[in-house]
Symmetry: C4
C-alpha cells in the first residue's frame, strides 16, 4: 500500500476553467461545514476517494450497518452557465503528523496538476476564543493581486491575524502551491473555536457565492446556526448559575 | 529486518472454505479473550508467528525462564464435519502507531490472500462506560447481505453505535478488506471498558458457535466471568464506603 | 517531495574563507535574535531557502496578505575588507523530531560542503532559570585549539555547563560536523529561559564582532533589551502583589 | 546518513570464544553501571562507536570543552588466561522509539555476527518500587539449558517476574537473538527504581565474575553504593519530618 492512495470513480475530463475548493475539518469545523454545504447545494458528483496511512486507523458506520474507511473525497460540479467548474475536496480528517500533512498536501497538488487546476480556495476557521455577533472573513493568498481581488469582496488581510500564521492543510496548500506557481486563496471565518459554527461557514460561502454566481440556498445552514445559537444561549445561562461545562466539554458539542 | 515478518511453522494447504477470525487486544480485551478461548476449546494448531517493528520492543516470560518476542499468531482449526475451517489470529498487541496499524492490517490481508480466505470476522469490545447486566452484540460489515445475515443471529446494527466508528484492527480490516473485495463482519460485545470482560467475550462466541456449529464449552469463560462479578461487587461495595479506586486503577484489574 | 528541499536563489561562488553562523530558535530565542540582528546589520543577502517535512505544516503571513511556508534561510555577507565572508543560517523552526533534527543537520553540513565552508559557529541560549544581571557566554567546540582561542575572547568552557549537554541543532552540528572534520564552535548566552533575551544575543554578537571585525551597531538590540527590562520589572512588581503569571504565560511574552 | 552508523576504530580479529555483554541505560541505571565498571576494571579497549538517528539530537561535554555526539560504544577485553574474550556494549541512550529499538537491536546482532559472537549477556535493573536490603538477581534466557546454568549461580527465574516481561534493549536482544540461533541471558538486579543503584550493579557483576573468573575489584562500586546509602538515609529522615521529595525528584538524584 502506498502512503496515499487515490481511487478515481470517474476521471473528470475537459473541465472548464476549474477551481478547487478545499474544506477539511479544523477550528469550528468551518471549512468542512462550508464545503459539505456546497456539495449538497450544488449536487456535486463524487469522482475520487483518497485513503492514507496518515489518517487514523478507523472506519465510520453507514446507516445500513456497513462501514467505510475514513478518507478525503473529491467532488466535481460542472457549471451550467459556462463559468468555472468547481472541484471540491472534503474529508473526515487531516493528516495526523506534520510529515503526513506535507505528503497529503503534495498529493492534492498532484491531483490539481492532473486536472489542470491552477486556482484554488482553502476554507477554514479562525478561532478567537470569544462568541462573536459579527463574523469577519480573514484571508491569505499566494500573490498580492489575489489579495486585492478578495478585499473587494470584504475579506480582511492582516499580518497579525492569524498571529501564528495558518497551521494545517489550508495554509500548507497555499505555501506549497505558491512554489508550484498556483494561485491560492485561504478564507478563514471568525469563530469562537468552541462550537461547530454554521454561521461562520455561511460567511465563507457568501463570498464564493458572489465570486462564482452560485445562487446558493443557505436555509439549511441557517437552521443549524439557529440551533447552535440556542445551545450557546443555554450554555451562557448555565455559566451564570454554575461553573458551566469546561472548554473541553464544549469542544464535543455540536 | 522488514517492518513485518511472518514466519510459517507450517504452511496450511487445502483449507476448506476457510474463514478468518481476528481477536487482538482492545476494549475490555473482549476480542482477545474470545479468540484465545476459541483456540483453546478447538485445540487449534499454531501455523505462523508475526513479528513487527510496529509492536513494542518487549519480550514476555515463559514458565521455564525463557522468553518470546511479543507477536501476533495465526492458528488453524480443520473442521472435522466438513464445514468451514477456521484460521484464528490472536496477539499480544496491535500496532503502536496509525501507520503501523495500516501496515499490519495489509499484512494480515496478504496472509488471507495467500490462504485463499475471502470471509472474516473481527472481534472486539464496545465500551459503554457502565457495568451492564445484559450484553448486546453490535455489528458492522462490508456489505448489506452480511448485515441481514447477522441480524438473524441477534447482532444489532446502528449508525450511531459505535458513535465514533471503529478504531483499530477490527475496523481497519473491514475498511481495507472491503476494498479488496472480501466479506468481513465486525462483532463488538458491550462491555464497561473498565475490566477484562469474559461475559462479553462469551456473547461473541455464542454467535460464532451457532454460525459454525462449534459446540463450544463455555465453562472456563463462565468461571472467569464469575470471578470478575465478585470483583465488580467488591468494587461497588468499596465505592459506597469510600471514593473507591479511580478509573485508571480499574483498568489494571483483571 | 524530498524530506529536505533547498532552493537556491543565487548560488554564491568564490566565497573568501567562508564561515557559517547558525542561529535557529531555541532557549530565549538567543541564537535566532543574534543571527537576525547580524543579517540586518550587515545587510546580508538571501541566497537559499530550505523547506522540509520535518518542519510544522504551517505558513506565516506577510504584511501584504500573502504567505510563505515556514523555512530555514541562508544569507551571505561578503566581507569588504578581505576578511572571512559570512554565511548565516536562520529559520522559523528546528526539526520537530529527533530523526528530523539529524536529517536537517546533515542537510546543512552538505550545504557547507557545497560552499567549501570548514568553520562554523552555532548560537544558542543557556537557560539558567534565573533572571541575571550579567550574562556569561558558555562555549563548546569540536577541538581543543578552538577552545583555547575562544577562552581568549572570554568564553567559558566547563564540563558541567550545560549539564545535560547541548540538545538540538547547535549541538548536533558540532557532533556531526566533527565527524566530517569541520571546525565548529557553539556559543551559548546565559538567559533566564522565560523571556526572549536580546541582551544575551548581544553578548554572543560582541564575540563575533571582535572575531570578524564587524563593527556592529547594537542600538536596536539595546532598545529591545530595555523594553524587556521594563517588562521584567513589571513582572517582578506583579509577583510582589499577587501570584503573577505562570511560567507558561511568561514563555509567550516578548 | 544511514539510520545507524558503526565506526570501527579497530576491527578486532581472532577473538577467543567471544561473549558480548550489553549494559545500556535503564531502570536504576543498573546495566550501564555494571558495564561501565567492567570496562574500567578490565581496562577494556574501545573498538567501535555507534551513532544513530534513533538517539536524541544531543552532544555531551568533555572536560576540555570539546563535545561528542551521544552514542553507543563497543569495547573489547582479551582474556589473558585463555578464557572467553569479552565484547562490552555501553551507551548514553537506548533508541527513542519502538521502531528505533528494533533497528538498533538488529544492528547490534549484525555486529555480533561480524565478530562471530554466539553468546551474550544483557544487563538491567528490575524496579520493585521499594528500597531493599538484599538484592536478588532475576534472569531470562533464550533456552532452558541456559536457565539451568544460571540457576546454579543463584539467578532466579520466574514467569511472574518481571510481570510485564522485559521492555527495551535487554529483552529485545534476547527475543531477536533467539530467532537468529544465538544464546542469550538477561540478568536483572532488583532495585528500587528511584535511585542509581551501584549495589544492584555489583550483584550482576558478581555473577559475571564467577562465570568468567574476572577477579573484579568492587571497591569503587562499594564506595558509590555507600554514598547512595547515605543519600537514601537522608531521604528517609526527610520523609519523617516533611512530605519529602516526590518520586519525580528522586529520579534525578544520583
Amino acid at each position: 500500500m502506498n502512503d496515499i492512495e487515490t481511487t478515481w470513480l470517474e476521471r473528470p475530463d475537459a473541465l472548464n476553467d476549474p477551481v478547487l475548493i478545499e474544506g477539511l475539518p479544523g477550528v469550528g469545523n468551518v471549512g468542512k461545514l462550508a464545503a459539505d454545504h456546497l456539495i449538497s447545494e450544488l449536487d456535486a458528483e463524487k469522482v475520487a476517494v483518497i485513503h492514507s496511512k496518515h489518517f487514523p486507523p478507523q472506519v465510520l458506520m453507514h446507516e445500513d450497518g456497513t462501514v467505510r474507511l475514513v478518507n478525503n473525497e473529491v467532488y466535481v460540479w460542472r457549471n451550467p452557465d459556462g463559468g468555472s467548474d468547481l472541484v471540491i475536496l472534503i474529508g473526515d480528517y487531516q493528516g495526523l503528523t506534520a510529515q503526513g500533512q506535507y505528503e497529503l498536501a503534495h498529493g492534492l497538488l498532484d491531483i490539481m496538476d492532473e486536472l489542470d487546476i491552477s486556482q484554488f480556495y482553502t476554507l477554514g476557521g479562525y478561532g478567537t476564543g470569544q462568541i462573536l455577533e459579527d463574523v469577519r472573513v480573514l484571508g491569505a493568498a499566494t500573490e498580492t493581486a489575489l489579495v486585492e481581488k478578495m478585499e473587494k469582496h470584504g475579506v480582511e488581510f492582516s499580518q497579525d491575524e492569524p498571529g501564528g500564521g495558518i497551521v494545517g492543510a489550508s495554509g500548507l496548500l497555499l505555501g506549497l502551491g505558491k512554489a508550484r506557481g498556483l494561485q491560492g486563496i485561504c478564507l478563514m471565518g471568525e469563530t469562537s473555536g468552541y462550537l461547530v459554527d454554521p454561521r461562520s461557514a455561511r460567511a465563507l460561502l457568501e463570498i464564493l457565492d458572489a465570486l462564482f454566481t452560485l445562487d446558493l440556498d443557505f436555509s439549511d445552514l441557517e437552521t443549524r446556526a439557529e440551533q447552535m445559537d440556542k445551545l450557546t444561549q443555554q450554555l451562557r445561562d448555565l455559566e451564570q448559575h454554575a461553573e458551566g461545562p469546561t472548554e473541553d466539554e464544549l469542544q464535543y458539542i455540536g
